[in-house]
């Protein structure tokens, strides 16, 4: 209730959508993920001006423009760095980071490790389609070694990057996997990730129907029932090391306190600030 006694109307997913229409390929999983993000934000109930969405480069990194929240479409692979700075400067904001597997695990791989380790209170949503879609289908860190394409004849023969294992080992406080073909389940998982303190990582299997049309079959491969949530890192590690890549649900929800540096009163004058750096 506000200070003149009016109960604000509940927020709807449409309140978080901008007037800009997505330009993804028809059938792209990212449409559903966008819908899940707006549903999750409506569930959280914070108005758009209290939410910031930060991204890097790639198809899925276009998401900030499609929402009515504050947005920052940053440099390739550097979304987590920008978001970390934003959250530390403005801890009152709900900060989401969105991107793809190439942006997050290759170009931004180093930032991914340290964002997990730092455990700043924000939510990282990676739409993983195992390919660089925007640049026309090059193999990404999560591409299967035997995926044969004109750009990688015979496949890369390189072992895949396992983001959930890495996130858990590096210290992420919440690790989950969702599927874009399950938009309601994905929305609930994202809402849970936002509410969970610390760095929350949600990997969303989001098919690229243009360069990986075989990923349409994911809807028959993803296990319908979510896994049982655990706060035991050993159990979670065993689970993510042995799963087939199609389990969905919260794989780990830990209890580590988020990183939150002590906030100092900013200096009143520039001279005071300069004095701090004088040698």
């Amino acid at each position: 209730m506000n200070d003149i006694g009016i109960q604000p109307a509940a927020l709807a997913p449409a309140d978080f959508k901008s007037a800009i229409k997505p330009i993804w390929c028809p059938g792209c999983g990212d449409y559903s993920v966008l819908s899940s993000i707006t549903k999750a934000l409506a569930m959280i109930g914070r108005p758009p001006h209290e939410v910031a969405i930060v991204s890097g480069i790639g198809c899925s990194s276009r998401i900030p423009a499609y929402t009515s929240c504050y947005g920052f479409h940053g440099v390739h692979g550097r979304a987590l760095a920008a978001a970390t700075g934003l959250k530390l400067a403005r801890p009152d904001l709900t900060v989401l980071v969105t991107g793809g597997d190439g942006d997050g695990y290759s170009i931004g791989g180093n930032h991914f490790l340290h964002a997990c380790r730092r455990n700043v209170d924000m939510t990282y949503i990676v739409m993983d389609n195992h390919v660089y879609g925007m640049t026309k289908g090059q193999p990404s860190p999560t591409t299967e070694p035997d995926w044969d394409s004109k750009l990688a004849p015979g496949g890369t023969k390189i072992r895949v990057f396992h983001p959930l294992v890495v996130a858990l080992a590096a210290g992420a406080n919440f690790v989950a996997r969702a599927f874009s073909g399950d938009p309601n389940g994905t929305a609930a998982l994202i809402a849970q990730a936002i509410r969970h303190p610390g760095f929350s990582f949600v990997e969303v299997l989001s098919p690229c129907v243009t360069f990986r049309p075989e990923q349409r079959d994911w809807k028959t491969q993803v296990h319908a029932s979510p896994v049982e949530e655990t706060d035991d890192p050993v159990r979670a590690a065993r689970r993510v090391m042995t799963d087939d890549g199609f389990n969905i649900g919260v794989l780990y929800a830990g209890n580590r306190a988020p990183y939150s540096p002590e906030r100092r009163t900013p200096p009143a004058a520039v001279a005071e600030l300069e004095a701090e750096f004088r040698v």
Binding site: K21, P22, I23, C25, P26, G27, C28, G29, Y31, S32, S35, K136, G137, S149, K150, L151, F179, G181, D182, P183, N184, G185, P207, V209, T210, F211, R216, K219, A224
Partner: protein
């Protein structure tokens, strides 16, 4: 697949309402997709379907005397999405109205089967009666879409051929 039957008429109708809302939203999303890809004919058709689903939702609200949709509870769909919702990856940027109506027809047929199974599995009389009524409504929708489809020309064999395709991988 087992089916989770609501135990009260209100819970059942809330689920039916959620189903109409999901279908309405998906049709609107697909209309946007088609508009973006300059397929205006199909965009308009999806927009019409969205408006029709919206009317169905309004009918449920009026029948139940609801001013606002009831608080969302986890709907018991048989798959990831409601029976009447078109899968987002079933579309093509060059699809013709005939394809769009085929998708709508399949969605209505799924909805009819869904309510039929619910009616069979229901243990509460009011829920069974409502499920049978909704099954009948969905059957009528199936016939309406079939009639619509009969008036729409079948696509040309080369409907998906694009002399300047957006995808190049070499």
């Amino acid at each position: 697949m087992s089916i989770d039957v609501p135990q009260t008429l209100e819970a059942f109708m809330a689920q039916a309402l959620a189903m109409e809302h999901e279908a309405m939203q998906r049709y609107a999303e697909l209309a946007d997709v088609m508009e973006t890809h300059n397929n205006r004919e199909v965009a308009e058709l999806f927009r019409k379907m969205s408006a029709i689903e919206n009317r169905h939702a309004a009918q449920i609200m009026a029948e139940m005397g609801w001013k606002e949709p009831p608080p969302a509870s986890a709907p018991a769909w048989e798959g990831f999405e409601a029976a009447e919702t078109i899968a987002p990856d079933d579309v093509h940027y060059l699809m013709r109205p005939w394809h769009a109506l085929q998708l709508a027809l399949r969605a209505e047929e799924r909805a009819e089967r869904f309510f039929g199974r619910l009616a069979q599995a229901a243990t509460v009389d009011s829920v069974r009666k409502a499920a049978l009524e909704l099954q009948q409504e969905e059957r009528e929708h199936v016939e309406l879409v079939r009639a619509w489809l009969a008036k729409v020309p079948q696509p040309e064999p080369d409907w998906a051929v694009d002399p300047d395709p957006p995808r190049y991988d070499e």
